[in-house]
């Protein structure tokens, strides 16, 4: 019996980091319940990824391949997942809480008549079933939630789970589920894509992230953060308030509704440290806060703090780093 089915998001031709984290979580649930772990591999020309999913923890891979699945279309993908669900009969379906997971999970839950818990960060097992633990009130509280329907769905917040240690000797069972989707009309068409100019370092993978908030005061001020990022080989992030003000593009937002990062060092400059922001960076190894308010909540979770107007601090900080790193 498979038991737990996980959804795989493909990014640059491989299972995304978040998908491997979800497989890791599925494995840990299975360790306690004795279930099998299955992965749904959906897309065009993706069968070659089967071994990678096995190495990441899947006992069974349900493969649904078609050129019609090249681009993500919710209605089409929903049908494929319903079909896989019928073959696999899982009692738990896990999605990464990425754009696709957040889009698909509620609609699939509806179609299966199942309950869904979104944005889980942890789980507990009770009577052989999963209790999902999710932050609520922007992370100010944690709720333990039980799904009462026979099938339970959950989305899992990125960077909260360890991926399964890769084991390339595992050979999965492979089940092909032929997609029957040709007749499904497209809901919507993407007429244009506007990509931001390429950043040197990907925010989510960066070892150093330098973020600015409302305290920065202007988009010009972010130039200093970019300068610091360049010296340290890092990436620039922003609080939602800074994004809403138009100082940084939305794709740089760190937090519950932005990117989840866990760098070696995170600089929070002019950021108060709302729980929704902490949700996206609380897992950073070292947190450095520069804030002029000694009462700012960010100082409660930071390792290093400078209580000062950032304008007085940044130039010297940048200077000193350039000196140190030159030597």
């Amino acid at each position: 019996m498979p038991g737990i089915l996980t959804s795989v998001t493909i990014k640059n031709g491989s299972p995304s980091m978040s998908s491997r984290e979800v497989l890791g979580m599925a494995r840990r649930i299975a360790d306690q319940t004795g279930d099998q772990v299955a992965a749904a591999l959906v897309g065009a020309d993706v069968s070659s990824l089967t071994p990678e999913l096995a190495a990441s923890g899947a006992d069974v891979v349900y493969l649904s391949e078609s050129e019609f699945l090249t681009e993500f279309q919710a209605k089409v993908y929903l049908k494929v997942f319903q079909d896989i669900g019928e073959v696999a009969q899982p009692h738990t379906i896990l999605f990464p809480a990425d754009a696709i997971g957040m889009d698909l999970a509620p609609r699939l839950a509806y179609r299966l008549g199942a309950g869904l818990v979104t944005d889980c960060v942890d789980f507990a097992i009770r009577d052989g079933r999963c209790i999902f633990i999710k932050p609520v009130y922007g992370g100010k509280a944690l709720a333990h939630l039980r799904v009462t329907t026979p099938v339970a769905l959950a989305t899992v917040r990125p960077r909260t789970q360890e991926p399964f240690p890769a084991d390339t000797r595992r050979i999965p069972e492979r089940v092909i589920v032929a997609p029957q989707i040709e007749s499904i009309p497209r809901e919507a068409t993407v007429t244009d894509r506007i990509e931001e100019e390429g950043e040197e370092v990907n925010l989510e993978d960066a070892k150093v992230v330098i973020s600015g908030g409302r305290g920065m005061g202007s988009s010009e001020a972010f130039r200093q953060l970019k300068k610091l990022a360049k010296i340290l080989g890092g990436a620039v992030g922003a609080s939602r308030t800074a994004v809403d003000a138009g100082w940084m593009p939305p794709s740089h937002q760190v937090g519950q509704t932005g990117k989840i990062v866990a760098p070696d060092v995170y600089f929070a400059v002019g950021i108060s440290g709302s729980s929704q922001h902490i949700a996206g960076m609380g897992g950073s190894k070292i947190i450095v806060a520069i804030n002029r308010d000694p009462e700012a909540p960010i100082l409660r979770i930071a390792n290093l703090g400078v209580i000062e107007d950032y304008r007085n601090v940044l130039p010297a900080l940048i200077d000193e780093f350039s000196k140190i790193l030159k030597n």
């Binding site: 009130y137 509280a141 007429t191 409660r300 979770i301 400078v306 209580i307 940044l314 900080l317």
Partner: protein, 264 residues
């Protein structure tokens, strides 16, 4: 065109963690003296609807909420911002519903409003952060659902939506009726209510629809139940970098970080 914006009143999500408490036995948050506000993403959705109204010749915006007594305030605020109508789904029967049941009731409410072209919801509510109501309403009403949208336009009778993606934006075209879940952006910051708007809104009679009005007689099942509610502690021990002025502190911070050998 007729737009329905679904709004929810929540505890102000900006209250600092130290002012936040839960009643663990009741598995509920203690509201204390925190203000009630319209969920911020719902306010962005109202703004998008009003911007469409500003540009379209014939456009009606209806704000709709489901909830108990204090929610009237949210609806009046929506009217004061410029919404044309407000609908209040209120019934003791609707207390403590989960996402699935809430979406079911709201979908019935939207059906009762009549012919609609667009439904807008916030991408998630800042209390339980479930982020599923929009998609579930779309499923209930068999509407196309576009999520994480920051701008909406109408072009040749079709919707043209700007959707935030991982690295930039996508322009998506779709037919009406449809539903979009709204995220915040610099272009949809909620407008202030005018004094005149506030006065007019305070005089309006807001229709209240009960379970019976919506033809809901069956008990609504709970697909998800709360087992426990706790307050986590993320606090770390902080080292404050001191110095006579900002530049000294900046220099010291660089040196401390370098000494920690955490930067490669």
């Amino acid at each position: 065109m007729h737009i329905v914006v679904c709004i929810k009143q929540i505890l102000d999500p900006e209250i600092p963690p130290r002012n936040f408490q839960v009643d663990q036995a009741a598995k509920k948050v203690i509201p204390g003296d925190a203000a009630l506000v319209i969920n911020p993403f719902d306010a962005n959705a109202i703004e998008i609807a009003l911007q469409l109204k500003d540009r379209q010749k014939y456009c009606t915006v209806t704000a709709l909420t489901l909830g108990g007594e204090p929610c009237g305030k949210a609806l009046r605020h929506a009217l004061a911002m410029g919404c044309d109508e407000a609908i209040w789904l209120k019934d003791a029967f609707f207390e403590g519903l989960d996402s699935a049941a809430t979406a079911k009731v709201i979908a019935r409410g939207i059906q009762k409003v009549g012919q609609i072209d667009l439904v807008l919801c916030g991408r998630q509510a800042g209390d339980w952060d479930m982020g599923q109501i929009g998609s579930l309403i779309a499923e209930e009403l068999s509407l196309t659902c576009i999520s994480v949208v920051s701008q909406v336009d109408v072009e040749n009778d079709r919707l043209r939506l700007q959707r935030e993606v991982e690295k930039g934006v996508e322009i998506v075209a779709t037919d009406m009726p449809a539903l979009a879940t709204i995220t915040s952006s610099s272009a949809n910051q909620p407008r202030y209510a005018t004094t005149k708007g506030i006065v007019l809104a305070s005089r309006r009679k807001i229709p209240v629809w009960s379970a019976q009005d919506l033809g809901i007689a069956e008990n609504l099942a709970r697909l998800v139940v709360v087992e426990n509610l706790t307050v986590p502690n993320y606090e770390r021990q902080i080292q404050i970098i001191d110095g006579e002025d900002g530049p000294v502190k900046g220099t010291r911070l660089a040196q401390v970080l370098a000494a920690m050998k955490v930067l490669k």
